[in-house]
């Protein structure tokens, strides 16, 4: 396996120091920043971050240091414990705020104000501070205090209504995609604020809404603006079928399933015919099928076409199919439908050095993580360390950044502050 980052220049954001108190709704923001090189210090209460309770767990052991959710979203970060609800903890936090660039948080609007740690209070200590607040609906407005788990973000952003089978309920995208949107767009907004500051502007309090972040979804909104038509759940699985009664798009093959976009814009049915002919099935291809609009609207013929494709796909593995479809000059759009195991074994991802092998010394193991989403060769993004264990960097951070002595730290620990 090659690596993207043979030499080890610093990540693009290596000069930024971040205090991270974001829950699941916003933690992807700080993971992105940390993997881009920022020094992200995760603050958790001495009782442990609630995120550590989210499974699944390594070896199925529900130990707070073994949550895969915690591991995944807190890569490349340092970790300290700090009780923000104690006066001493608040004082320490205020001292930290003077030494850093960014705070990212996702508490209910008003919570930090009640602790005396709201933006105005923090700004008085560090006028260059950027505070990024990530909440379901934003800091103000009628829903500001409503609860917003991922599925609520999906429901209230317009995409979900038209998604799924017509005979079932609307379907939310898998893998917490509204949390994804909130975190990724928050990272974008945060970096804009960093640029503003570097260009001579002040710090600011960024108000990110998950609902608004998830609402950036496609063509439905600007189309409604013109037609006043609401899209419905019309297709069994809108996998690039291109409108109209769809030609089947998902087919079993030897080792799983492939997605085949027979009627996607840009697909030439004659190229599909040629592909079949290359594999001895040309005789069975009815020339009338070249008229895809006709084929779509002719159910018995559609079934015959799909049956031929079924027999073709059944001869091959899914990666073989993708390969033979795209190595032709006149390519055919066949894609392997892969699961996590396939992704982990993907020759493409391995060849590109996408994965990061991350040591977990206390387990005596190195574990393979999916790497950052974009390659930046001059300032590599990468996972620089596994997620912190509870309080792992208390000495390092409180010592290095605040100059606390071991004795002072011991006292804070005794008082339950750290």
């Amino acid at each position: 396996m090659t690596t993207r980052h043979a030499a080890e220049p610093q990540g693009a954001l290596a000069d930024l120091k971040v205090l991270d108190m974001a829950g699941p709704i916003g933690v992807y923001c700080t993971k992105l920043l940390a993997d881009l090189g920022a020094d992200v210090i995760r603050i958790e209460p001495p009782s442990g971050d609630p995120m550590r309770k989210l499974g699944p767990f390594y070896e199925d052991d529900p130990n707070p240091d073994k949550s895969l959710y915690w591991w995944h979203y807190n890569t490349s970060k340092r970790g300290i414990t700090l009780d923000l609800e104690k006066a001493q903890g608040q004082a320490l936090f205020k001292r930290l705020v003077q030494k850093i660039d960014l705070v990212v948080e996702s508490f209910e609007p008003g919570y930090l104000d009640r602790l005396g740690l709201g933006y105005e209070a923090l700004r008085a200590l560090n006028h260059r501070l950027i505070l990024t607040s990530i909440t379901p609906f934003g800091q103000t407005g009628p829903f500001a205090h409503w609860k917003g788990p991922d599925i609520v973000g999906q429901a209230k952003s317009g995409l979900m209504y038209a998604q799924g089978y017509p005979d079932r309920a609307p379907y939310p995208l898998a893998s917490e995609n509204a949390y994804w949107a909130a975190g990724c767009l928050a990272a974008n907004g945060t970096m804009l604020a960093v640029h503003f500051r570097e260009a001579g502007g002040e710090g600011q309090h960024i108000d990110v809404s998950m609902q608004a972040a998830m609402a950036i979804g496609g063509t439905a909104m600007p189309s409604f603006d013109i037609t006043h038509e609401v899209p419905l759940r019309a297709q069994p699985a809108p996998l690039m079928t291109g409108g109209g009664p769809p030609v089947r798009s998902i087919y079993p093959c030897k080792d799983g399933f492939v997605m085949f976009s027979a009627a996607a814009p840009g697909t030439q049915v004659d190229w599909v015919r040629d592909l079949l002919a290359e594999h001895g099935l040309g005789e069975e291809f009815d020339p009338r099928w070249l008229d895809i609009a006709w084929l779509r609207n002719n159910p018995p013929e559609r079934l015959k076409f799909e049956d031929l494709m079924l027999r073709f796909f059944a001869r091959f593995n899914k990666w073989e199919l993708m390969d033979l479809a795209f190595k032709r000059k006149n390519r055919v759009f066949i894609y392997s439908i892969d699961n996590a195991k396939d992704v982990a074994n993907s020759p493409q991802l391995q060849a590109r050095g996408f994965f990061n092998d991350v040591p977990h010394p206390e387990l005596g193991k190195t574990i393979r993580y999916p790497g950052p989403p974009a390659a930046l060769p001059a300032s590599p993004a990468r996972i620089s360390r596994r997620a912190p264990r509870m309080g792992e960097h208390n000495h390092e951070v409180y010592g290095e950044i605040l100059g606390l002595t071991t004795e002072e730290m011991r006292r804070l620990q005794r008082d339950g502050v750290i």
């Binding site: 954001l13 429901a155 379907y171 979804g217 909104m221 600007p222 892969d338 195991k341």
Partner: protein, 414 residues
């Protein structure tokens, strides 16, 4: 002097077409960069004809709602990059730009004479961001398509849907419209930060395939660390029970009914007790089948039946308000109409912004999902194709009127 916007003075050349490239560039335009779409009147971005089109402008490439929504705050210059003269104009613009955005298939920029080595020669600190399906190299480099195609090998598609039925795709190319462009715009913002410190540019290689893996959460790690392959969960969550999408009273619109749905998600025992109280079934709170999270998880379908019976004769907004007021997470499954016309929260945030477009008239656009109070973002309507030719050719490139006319005549402009 302090700027008004974060990226003031940063020039971006936008060769994007379809969605991913243009949306990456839109983020930079929102941030105050001067983003110039480099377009062709002859081979224009097909997305400029993407429906819906404002009626009454047949044949216009300037009235697509979706296309204009992706081009707010941008300029447009028409240069034919299939002519050497056009390529030279672009390279002169590259000399005075910070970023070039493109999402052609692998190798196209090189064939046009606009590959990274050439750009770098003209401007050593240029940042080029390329979006391809699979990335710039590797055994699957030739595999091409839209974002939803890459979602299949990325493991995203297989996770969406019910275990007993085919996977469900996104109702819109969510990958092209959100996941990929915003992963790449973040990479550009990071690269600009690096450039400010070091003067160094780079070629950002965004593989949509890799980017979409980044939106599958912990799925890959569950395999690499646990050897476990996650299956489609039918919209269930490991972190909430009950959680589902429940039918409400349909809305009568003219002579037809519009379905209404509400999502409800219960994460804690306290929320469960509150839900039982609100649906007038306090006894359920003491029912041993539902007493703990794990037991609720096991009996999710039984709970769903009870909730469906309660929601079915109620108005979705009323269910949402009652539950949220009592601290139980709920949300109406909103249509785009709801978002634009009735959602009081988005209205309070002034989220959608109206602009007046030269041809398309007063239209609604996406606003940024974040508020930056010290550097507030205002929106300008998308440009019509070639609207800023005068600015680009005369002001930026210093071409005389005669040279510009010559460009129109020989087709290098246009």
């Amino acid at each position: 002097m302090a700027p008004k916007l974060p990226l003031e003075g940063t020039r971006v050349l936008d060769f994007g077409w379809q969605a991913a490239g243009p949306l990456c560039a839109r983020m930079l335009a929102w941030g105050g960069a001067e983003v110039i779409r480099i377009e062709s009147m002859v081979h224009h971005d097909r997305f400029r004809l993407s429906p819906a089109l404002v009626p009454g402008h047949e044949g216009s490439v300037n009235v697509s709602g979706p296309s204009n929504n992706l081009a707010t705050n941008k300029l447009s210059a028409s240069i034919n990059i299939q002519q050497p003269k056009g390529v030279e104009m672009v390279l002169r613009l590259v000399e005075m730009s910070a970023v070039v955005v493109e999402n052609y298939s692998t190798g196209v920029m090189d064939r046009l004479g606009l590959g990274y080595p050439v750009l770098k020669q003209r401007n050593p600190s240029i940042i080029l961001v390329s979006h391809t399906l699979m990335g710039q190299n590797g055994p699957w480099e030739r595999v091409a398509g839209h974002g939803p195609s890459a979602a299949a090998p990325a493991g995203w598609t297989g996770l969406s849907g019910y275990p007993d039925r085919d996977p469900i795709g996104p109702a819109g190319a969510f990958m092209d419209f959100n996941i990929n462009p915003h992963h790449s715009s973040l990479a550009v913002l990071a690269a600009l930060h690096h450039r400010r410190k070091t003067g160094e540019g780079q070629h950002i290689d965004l593989s949509q395939y890799e980017s979409i893996v980044g939106a599958t959460g912990t799925a890959v790690l569950e395999y690499t660390a646990l050897g476990r392959v996650r299956e489609r969960a039918g919209g269930r969550s490991p972190y909430a029970a009950p959680q589902g999408v429940y039918p409400c009273v349909p809305l009568v619109v003219g002579d037809r009914e519009e379905e209404r749905w509400v999502v409800i998600s219960v994460a804690t025992d306290e929320e469960w007790r509150m839900l039982c109280h609100i649906i007038d079934q306090p006894a359920l709170a003491n029912d041993s089948r539902f007493a703990t999270f794990d037991s609720r998880k096991r009996n999710e379908e039984a709970i769903d039946e009870i909730i469906v019976a309660w929601t079915s004769d109620k108005v979705a907004e009323a269910v949402e308000l009652r539950l949220q007021s009592a601290g139980v997470a709920a949300g109406v499954v909103e249509t785009v109409k709801d978002l634009l016309t009735t959602d009081p929260q988005l209205a309070a945030r002034d989220h959608y912004r109206k602009t007046v477009h030269a041809e398309a008239g007063e239209r609604t656009n996406d606003g940024p999902p974040f508020i930056l109070p010290a550097s507030p973002i205002t929106l300008r309507a998308a440009p019509i194709l070639g609207e800023h030719n005068e600015y680009v050719f005369a002001k930026l490139l210093g071409m005389t009127e005669e040279e510009i006319n010559q460009g129109y005549a020989d087709g290098s402009i246009g």
